[in-house]
Amino acid sequence: MPAASSIPCLVVDDQQTIRSLVRTGLQQLGFRTIHEAADGEDGLRHMLSRPVQLVISDYNMPKLDGLGLLRAIRSHPPIQKTAFIMLTGRADKELVQRAVQFGVNNYLVKPFTVGTLKEKIEAIFGALT
């Protein structure tokens, strides 16, 4: 039963609106260390300098999309064990299938509720305290 406050996370999305929404949701769940990045490349750069335990990333972003970020993370041993939740704009089965192939830990369809966010995170880490 990990404490949410002990899980540092990174929110990657090119829309500040979504980053803020995810951040607000995470804060409500007790997360304390929440970093943000505006695209996949930015997110990867962030992870190389300051690793986190959970990445919640959008799929459709400029420079490097969510799948690219996921692949980069999984192919780089120092960060490859980071939990990864993919945010998708619509229920896109094909996309989630591809993400699963690359080792995604879960997905989240926008718009989401704090309840769903919690559910998806707990599916990975177990019940949060």
């Binding site: 979504i18 803020s20 990045a37 490349e41 990867l44 400029p62």
Partner: protein, 732 residues
């Protein structure tokens, strides 16, 4: 729900950016841009709007964005060709989307007159793709990577290069006389540390429990410390805190920064599928720095006592740059790249501008005092003051630049307007914009939208000929309206040009005579005739059209430009078209003024209102009885207003020949001559509100402080002219 309301604001701000991107992308594609990134950006814009709208349950917006997104997706995947017709429909859809966004912003998430028909058109384009809408329920179960499996992944070849420790003491920890700061210091002995304070839990002061623990820390330890050593530090407090230790790093053997940089570019190349033959080992500074161990003794947050967690230092404070400025600076640069812009409350910027205005004045006063004190120009004080002046000017310019914005934000509203007016008039039009990056004060930009809208409408409605006439004149059927901006001698010059028939001077003149604006005998130059269209009440359209409005013609445009301290002129060539040129100040905080003296007082008249200055001859001045006088200027009469009398500085009028007259042009083109004692010179003055500091005074627009520290009033030309005219009418 304040947090949500704030996010909602951000959403609408972002929507504006995305709408702009959407439109410019579609326009670029219309112009032949086939870059896949363009269509991607266009798709992403609509996708993002839909995503955000979903979070706020803006149903009408979501529905329309969804249909639009589907059509764009078809285009992105190559199933729908971006033909001119398709793009035209998409542009109209972009307009509807913009309307829906704006309606949603003011809580009108309702119907749009064109949304339904356009949605149908878009659906027709998308074909079958628009029909089936997947839901998650149809998916069955996916086998997600469980965390346990991830944990079993093969170990990294090299050991970890560091650890991220999250440490949140509970109250018990302090109760047992342990000290968080000491633990942090202890950690610092194990290697280089970076400490980030998390003070989220600190409640407002009145709710604070002196016995409770509110602070947490994230500590990144790099170097060759192992996990056991770190655990040992926390050995005595293990049960009294939340502790998490995670290994980081691995392969980067020898901690070579360049190698880490290679990592990122190689990683990116790998996942983006375009690994260059020579994976460039060009070290990317920020990343390299991030991997470099910080060779400094650890920096620990200021000692924190449990009972008084007062010093809420921002995280950066605990992250002092190392003496060589490399490691810390590099990391900071990486962060700067992540957020190159910040949103700042406009009030704060204005307050700063105000203060800098004060600084400029103060500096000038100080310089004057130093001169008066008899200090030599070459003295150290005077030289230092010169440098201060230089610096002050630079600060002023930089601060003004904060308020400056590219005119793009108003220019980008014009393509839509052109599309609409073109459709209404049946004239094919191409809009060409230039100099969108030209910057000018935000307030100027905001107040430019209306006059520009009017002028562009005018250019299409009145300027451009019908396609038939153009064909007859040997011109291409498509008319061109050119909108451009440029900086010219400290002002911004905006031009609206059309390649239409030019001003029909015969007709303009006959209308002006018919409306009694000029006498039938008047001989006017071409330029004077062209400028008649700025006269109040002048409208050449025989039937008032839907587009150019109700005869509120160019006079309104001119008035709004003048209100911004600007000027507007027209040049026209028959058969070739007309050019409207607006010249505006870059900022509203300073004013180009003519400094004059009146009865021992120093006053400032805005240069933009002054047409010319003249020395009145006795023979030109005629009395109308009482104190009312007129002066003859090139055959016409204008009222001669004694400023000293108008402001109550003197009871007897100044003999006209002893003063200087400023011929000014006020609201609606009304002319008058202002009689002053003498002209002191021309200079830029910082505008200070008189209303805010004293009270409103008729005839005075604002005040300024001159270099010698004296206050000078800035004349409100329009009021002075209006009041004097009223008095003159009474006298006459």
């Amino acid at each position: 729900m304040d947090a949500l309301a704030a996010i909602r604001d951000v959403f609408f701000q972002e929507c504006e950016e995305q709408l702009a991107e959407l439109e410019s992308g579609l326009l670029a594609m219309e112009g032949g841009d086939t870059d896949p990134e363009t269509i991607n950006a266009v798709f992403r814009a609509v996708h993002s709007i839909k995503g955000g709208a979903g979070a706020f349950s803006l149903e009408a917006l979501i529905r329309f964005a969804h249909v639009f997104e589907t059509a764009l997706d078809e285009m992105r995947s190559g199933r729908l060709a971006p033909s001119s017709d398709v793009l035209k429909t998409m542009l109209r859809a972009a307009d509807v989307l913009a309307d829906l966004v704006r309606a949603a912003r003011v809580d009108e998430d309702g119907q749009h007159p064109h949304a339904a028909t356009l949605a149908e058109e878009l659906k027709a384009m998308s074909g079958a793709a628009g029909e089936a809408d997947e839901t998650e329920e149809d998916w069955g179960d996916f086998e997600f990577q469980p965390m346990a499996a991830a944990m079993d992944a093969p170990e990294a070849p090299a050991g970890p290069t560091g650890f991220v420790v999250t440490f949140k003491p509970r109250a018990d920890l302090y109760a047992k006389a342990n000290e968080a700061a000491l633990l942090l210091r202890e950690l610092g002995r194990l290697g280089a540390v970076e400490v980030e304070l998390d003070a989220h839990d600190v409640p407002p002061l009145h709710e604070m429990d002196p016995e409770a623990a509110y602070l947490a820390w994230t500590i990144t330890v790099t170097g060759d410390a192992d996990e056991a050593a770190i655990r040992e530090v926390f050995e005595w407090v293990d049960g009294d805190c939340e502790l998490n230790i995670q290994a980081i790093g691995g392969e980067a053997e020898g901690d070579d920064g360049a190698e880490a940089a290679f990592d990122l570019s190689a990683l990116l190349a790998r996942v983006q599928g375009d690994a260059p033959a020579e994976a460039a080992p060009e070290p990317e500074a920020p990343i390299a720095a991030a991997f470099e161990p910080i060779p400094e003794p650890p920096v620990v947050a200021a000692p924190v006592v449990a009972a008084a967690p007062a010093p809420l230092a921002p995280p950066a404070a605990a992250n002092e740059p190392s003496p060589d400025g490399q490691a810390g600076g590099g990391a900071r640069k990486a962060e700067a790249a992540a957020g190159a812009t910040i949103r700042v409350d406009l009030d704060r910027v204005d307050r700063l501008i105000d203060l800098v205005g004060e600084l400029v004045i103060n500096q000038a006063v100080l310089a004057q005092r130093v001169m008066e004190a008899g200090l030599a120009r070459a003295s150290a004080v005077a030289m230092g003051l010169d440098e201060l002046e230089q610096l002050t000017r630079e600060i002023q310019d930089s601060v003004m630049a904060i308020r400056a914005q590219p005119v793009k934000s108003v220019f980008q509203r014009m393509p839509r307007l052109v599309r609409e007016v073109a459709a209404m008039t049946g004239k094919p039009v191409r809009l060409v914009t230039e100099g969108e990056g030209t910057e000018v004060d935000k307030t100027v930009i905001e107040r430019l939208a209306d006059p520009l809208t009017h002028m562009i409408r005018n250019a299409i409605d009145h300027g451009l000929e019908s396609p038939e006439k153009r064909a007859a004149a040997g011109k291409p059927a498509e008319g061109v309206v050119r909108l451009s901006a440029a900086h010219r001698s400290g002002r911004i010059v905006i031009e609206v040009a059309d390649d239409g028939g030019g001003i029909n001077r015969e007709r303009v003149k006959s209308i002006a005579i018919e409306k009694g604006l000029i006498s039938a005998e008047a001989t006017l130059s071409d330029e004077e005739i062209d400028n008649l269209i700025f006269m109040p009440g002048f409208s050449t359209a025989s039937e008032v059209s839907d587009i150019s409005g109700r005869g509120v013609g160019m006079d309104v445009v001119r008035r709004s430009i003048q209100a911004l301290g600007g000027r507007i002129t027209i040049t026209s060539r028959p058969g070739k078209g007309s050019i409207f040129t607006m010249s505006l100040p870059l900022t509203l905080a300073v004013l180009d003024g003519m400094v004059v003296s009146v009865q021992g007082q120093t006053l400032v008249a805005p240069i933009t209102a002054i047409v010319e200055t003249l020395q009145p001859k006795a023979s030109d001045v005629h009395s109308l009885g009482g104190h009312a006088r007129v002066i003859s200027i090139r055959g016409g009469f204008v009222p001669l207003i004694d400023v000293g009398m108008a402001l109550g500085y003197r009871r007897e009028p100044l003999p006209a020949t002893q003063g200087v007259a400023l011929l000014i042009e006020g609201e609606g083109g009304a002319r008058a001559a202002l009689l002053c004692d003498a002209i002191q010179g021309q200079r830029q003055v910082v505008i200070k509100s008189l209303e805010a500091n004293y009270r409103q005074v008729p005839g005075v627009a604002a005040a300024t402080i001159l270099g010698d520290g004296r206050v000078a009033l800035i004349l409100d030309i329009d009021t002075i002219v209006a009041v004097s005219r009223g008095e003159m009418r009474k006298a006459g």
